[in-house]
Subunit: 699 residues, 2 copies
């Protein structure tokens, strides 16, 4: 391909340049970006990010230039090279867990060591006896063996109890036989397994004397430690290309009567006694499954930042992109309007900007609740906090109200937060118009990689059943007259108490009333669902849609509450100046009121609001808040502090050089431009075969 000619290189975009426009945007607001960033993330986190970024940028393997162009095999090879380099850097620089996580966030793609680093290490550390920890976790921690966590099967994902892989105890030689009785028993979706891991923790149905004991964890070697070939009677490989997440080798795994020694069943909580050949039962059966609570809490914590990447890109781009003169423009206002000035764009982007902050504070609140729970559980006799995967939705819990509340909260918020982030990213991408469809926007690929979060760790629809079950249980308790013990029972009791008086929430005039209106709506829907289940005896399956709506309502209440409480906290009032704090309150109102008017019919039918209030929210309050927030939009996204290197986006560059960057990538970096085709129907495709071979050899 011809290099970019000189006459092209001297061209610049027309009209006000992108960087001029962003400069003007930053000048018309006085939001103290650095202070706000420090408030959101702490100086320590920001400093760490900069330090780690410098190291990454100095290593060629992390260069992102070809990321969007490369095919799957190349992407995977590069990802593994990056994973190795990251490990080397971690050792060399003695990086902490936080440093390591900062690095992975900056690199912004899943890597083939991912499940080794998380689930394999965590499981071999936390579910092992001391002897097993020495045998399995220690070499894993030194990367002498590379592992993964093989639970999901072709035929079973959500219903963990239904797993088909078997682990049969052989009392004669004290071994287990791991076997895949059907095709659907094949492990599937197992991260780090497809090409990389040589070990796996395999969740398999324990069978002793023909009797099943449910899924338990077994360490199995999968591949030869030297040749990396699959061991005999094991069939393993990559499951193929996905909608995104293609830098990870998700794998399949089948066993044909593979024997493993007794020691390989991780036995901290349950075991087979080799002398008696009997199952040794754990104190709390739920601990065998562990909980997904920790994982769900981290999903909630991350959702705000995930969405904020898309909002940052779209906001900056829509401030640079100009199209059409204002219909009502006065004479002399000749230029085309910045797209971010259109209210139809603002109602999509600025409400999502508000959501990023809502999710951020909710994530912190969620993590606070989780850690409080951890402390309490550690204090409770003998029950070490369990932070492992594996729970199905049928998991039972201790009677602790705090734990039950945490569990339900994490389910509901995981569902709402990840849906909000995923769907919000697509709104951001679409708001960028035509150029949003190019991978150079950085939003599409990011969205594609994030999308499975709406399905894994509990499908977002399925999870709502657990929330509903908890709310129904709480409602029954309140109806019985039991004293409220947590926020959930408190809002239900309040609703009952006021049911003869009715509600009157000044949602447009008083922030606390806005929060209370969300609580009221949740309580109303809870008691409606309870009527359907307990009085009308409707089947569970017939109430699933009700449960989905109920869970969503409860979770939206929690987000609004968490956002409000974070702003009300004394620490917040101390750290932020009144103007910035006032702006955050506006974001809070925008999030809450926009959500309210989107869910208008439930707020109306629950009598939390009048039609008039809803109409005013929709047509007046929300529109006014958009207008007030608009001047600060660019500075607000700046406060999320994403380095350009992390975003890898032409549209979202800090300096606004959108068109120059798009053009550079297309004209200089694009491998497709290195081949010349023959366009005529009756000739072969390629004009010069050698070009293609030269390209292949570089790939």
């Amino acid at each position: 391909m011809s290099p970019t000619p000189a006459w092209v290189k001297q061209l610049t975009p027309s009209g006000p340049q992108g960087h001029e426009l962003l400069k003007q945007e930053r000048e018309k607001s006085n939001v103290p970006v650095d202070k706000l960033s420090a408030f959101l993330f702490t100086k320590e986190v920001l400093e760490r990010k900069r330090r780690v970024l410098k190291v990454l940028q100095s290593e060629e393997v992390f260069d992102k230039s070809q990321n969007y162009f490369a095919g799957r095999v190349d992407r995977f090879e590069t990802a593994l090279a990056r994973a190795k380099k990251l490990r080397q850097l971690t050792v060399k620089h003695k990086w902490s867990q936080e440093d390591f996580r900062a690095a992975t966030e900056l690199i912004s793609e899943p890597g083939p060591y991912g499940l080794h680093e998380s689930m394999f290490l965590i499981t071999t550390r936390d579910q092992s006896t001391p002897e097993q920890r020495e045998r399995f976790w220690k070499p894993a921690d030194n990367y002498e063996i590379i592992g993964c966590y093989a639970q999901t099967e072709l035929g079973h994902g959500s219903n963990v109890r239904g797993l088909e892989t078997t682990a049969t105890w052989n009392s004669d030689d004290k071994t287990f036989t791991i076997h895949s009785p059907h095709l659907t028993a094949s492990k599937w979706w197992i991260g780090s397994l497809g090409r990389t891991a040589n070990h796996a923790v395999v969740m398999a149905q324990l069978i002793i004397d023909g009797k099943p004991y449910g899924p338990h964890p077994f360490v199995v070697q999968i591949r030869d430690l030297k040749t990396h070939e699959p061991l005999e009677n094991i069939h393993v490989g990559d499951i193929g290309p996905k909608f995104g997440y293609n830098t990870m080798d998700n794998g399949f795994l089948l066993f044909n009567q593979v024997k493993i020694p007794h020691i390989n069943m991780l036995a901290r909580f349950s075991a087979v006694d080799p002398k008696t050949n009997k199952y040794v039962r754990p104190a709390n059966p739920a601990l065998v499954y562990g909980t997904l609570t920790w994982v769900r809490s981290t999903i909630v914590l991350q959702a705000g930042g995930v969405l904020a990447r898309g909002v940052t890109i779209a906001t900056r781009y829509c401030a640079v992109r100009r199209q059409f003169q204002d219909r009502d423009a006065k004479e002399g206002e000749k230029g085309e309007t910045q797209v971010l000035n259109y209210t139809m764009v603002q109602i999509r982007l600025l409400t999502l900007l508000a959501a990023t902050f809502a999710l951020h504070f909710t994530g912190k609140g969620m993590m606070g609740l989780y850690e409080e729970n951890q402390k309490k559980m550690s204090a409770d006799a003998g029950q070490a906090a369990d932070t492992k995967r594996g729970a199905g939705p049928e998991e039972t819990h201790s009677g602790s109200d705090l734990l039950a509340d945490l569990h339900a909260t994490s389910c509901g918020l995981k569902s709402l937060a990840s849906t909000t982030a995923a769907e919000g990213l697509e709104v951001c991408r679409r708001a960028c118009g035509g150029h949003g469809y190019s991978n150079f926007s950085g939003i599409g690929p990011w969205y594609s990689d994030y999308l499975p979060t709406t399905t894994w760790e509990g499908d977002n629809y399925m999870l709502t059943q657990q929330v509903a079950r908890y709310l129904l249980k709480s409602a029954r308790s309140v109806l019985k007259g039991n004293k409220p013990t947590n926020d959930t029972t408190r809002i239900l009791a309040h609703f009952l108490r006021k049911s003869d008086i009715g509600a009157a929430f000044d949602v447009l005039g008083r922030d606390q009333d806005l929060v209370s209106a969300f609580a009221w709506r949740t309580a109303f829907l809870t008691f409606e669902a309870l009527k359907h289940r307990d009085e009308q005896k409707k089947a569970w399956n017939d109430l699933l849609v009700d449960f989905y709506r109920l869970s969503k309502a409860h979770s939206q209440y929690l987000v609004v509450k968490n956002f409000f409480e974070a702003l009300e906290a004394p620490a917040t009032h101390n750290e932020l100046d009144p103007e910035t704090l006032g702006l955050l309150y506006k974001l809070f109102r925008l999030y809450a009121l926009h959500t309210l008017e989107q869910e208008a019919s439930e707020f109306f039918s629950s009598s939390a609001c009048t039609v008039r209030q809803i109409t005013l929210a929709r047509n007046n309050a929300v529109m006014k808040l958009l207008e007030e927030i608009r001047p600060h939009a660019v500075r607000l996204v700046d406060s999320w502090d994403f380095p350009d290197w992390q975003l890898d986006s032409s549209l979202g560059r800090f300096d606004g050089k959108v068109y120059e960057d798009m053009f550079y990538r297309a004209s200089e970096l694009n491998p497709l431009n290195k081949i010349t085709v023959d366009p005529y129907p009756d000739s072969p495709v390629l004009f010069k075969r050698d070009e293609r071979e030269r390209l292949n050899s570089k790939l």
Copy 2:
């Protein structure tokens, strides 16, 4: 990679096999699939599809096995090879336009000849003088030159009037100079241009004597006809990887003072007189832009089928996939429940199934309206129906009410139909749980390729302004007392007439009332918007969100109306048996009532319904309809008649062999499994370098 071992090959899925389950599904319904298909598409269309499919399947180049695996350069090469073969087959078999279109639908990917076949041929045929047609269209029609249509620029998409590329008339040597004055003038997104085309119709600002005359079409040779190298002073290439649509080479194009002869300005409707050097004005300036109406109408026509592919796949898969026992299951019902039996899945999929039929009938209605308009316009003196691209939203029309109604209708329906299809596809993908994320589901890649339809041919948000403008204009006319001349003015007049009496629509008891309720809501929102604009004098920009809601309401009314009228038509009652027709009426009610309860707050605030009616719709009517339609779901998607070859989906196979197919693709077809890595951090990535090279040489 080790081939699939024998012990794996003999494995089958557990429990009731997929094909058994689908067989049972088909047995429990008596929907006459063949009859229904013939009713929907006509026997001629179905027969054509089978005939063309046979030809395609016999040609190796169309084999889809590697589609999901290949990287972008390979995908493009293969796509061009397929485009060439398709051209050869068209010539060899003397295929008609309909045969050709059937072939492209079966192949299911955009191809590098796409814009040559459509816009370049259409424009050179319809905007040429007879001499120009001979000079440009004839060799294009013979594929002696390959062209594209270069309108959109880096800096301008929606606002066509703002295009920056210039075409300056040189009165001395009777040429035009085509020039790109800024970087943002670069043509961008131009299909078939990136690597393939050697000509382009370039939309450029005509300048005569320093005076601008707006965008006009100019034929420009881009590449050498023999070497295919770009001509001097032209910089052209591919714009890079996109979220989808990567079998098309969308290109960029810059000019550095390139001269073209006078004859190259397509002059059927406007020209520069070479003797007088003056602009010769067309009778109707709008014809210079052409209209987008035809393109938008085809988008509406196709939307049902686009969505139906996802619904077919998800419905079949959710009938095969089983997970969890029913909580309320009686003793003896041991097996896990088909996912399609969960009401939370039904409310997502079966409502979309209803939408596919709604869109299908609306598309036909839309096309009928378009063709009626064509006839009328041909009859009108001298104005040949214009079916070309190029209009911006500022286009003006003749006074014809029919044309204005068609234009607004096409804008609103394009917006609603493509949004429904695109967002519906993602709902289908997500309803398939974990496996929906694999490309083997066939939904993700299809969605990715379809997604730009929500942005091009009029951004789906922007288009709603045109609908609103038309509705406001109609409302003003009705307020003045003018007699209604079309359906829009009729429903507005009706609303006015009844505004002192109020409405009473038996939406749950009478289908016609259900349609009327949608009309009422539209009229209410129209007069509300008119109040905001004409009485409160709100700025246009402040009303954009109102306009979006108004346009959506109007378009939803049109869909419901078209669906209903199609079912009421005598031809329908003649062709379909009462039971099948009854089922279609249920689908109509499901679509309309589900939409109603989703848009509950507007139906309530417009007083089209009571809260009670909405609650009953949501909790009773819709849930009951799901139950009644459920047994027929598989046969209903069968009636959309998608061959497995077209869908290319493991999850959506007619025979339900989901797991076998997924496994086969992963284990046998997957190139990533042909490389062996070294997993340890301090070693190079690849264990055997030659494997990678062997793989490359095959790619």
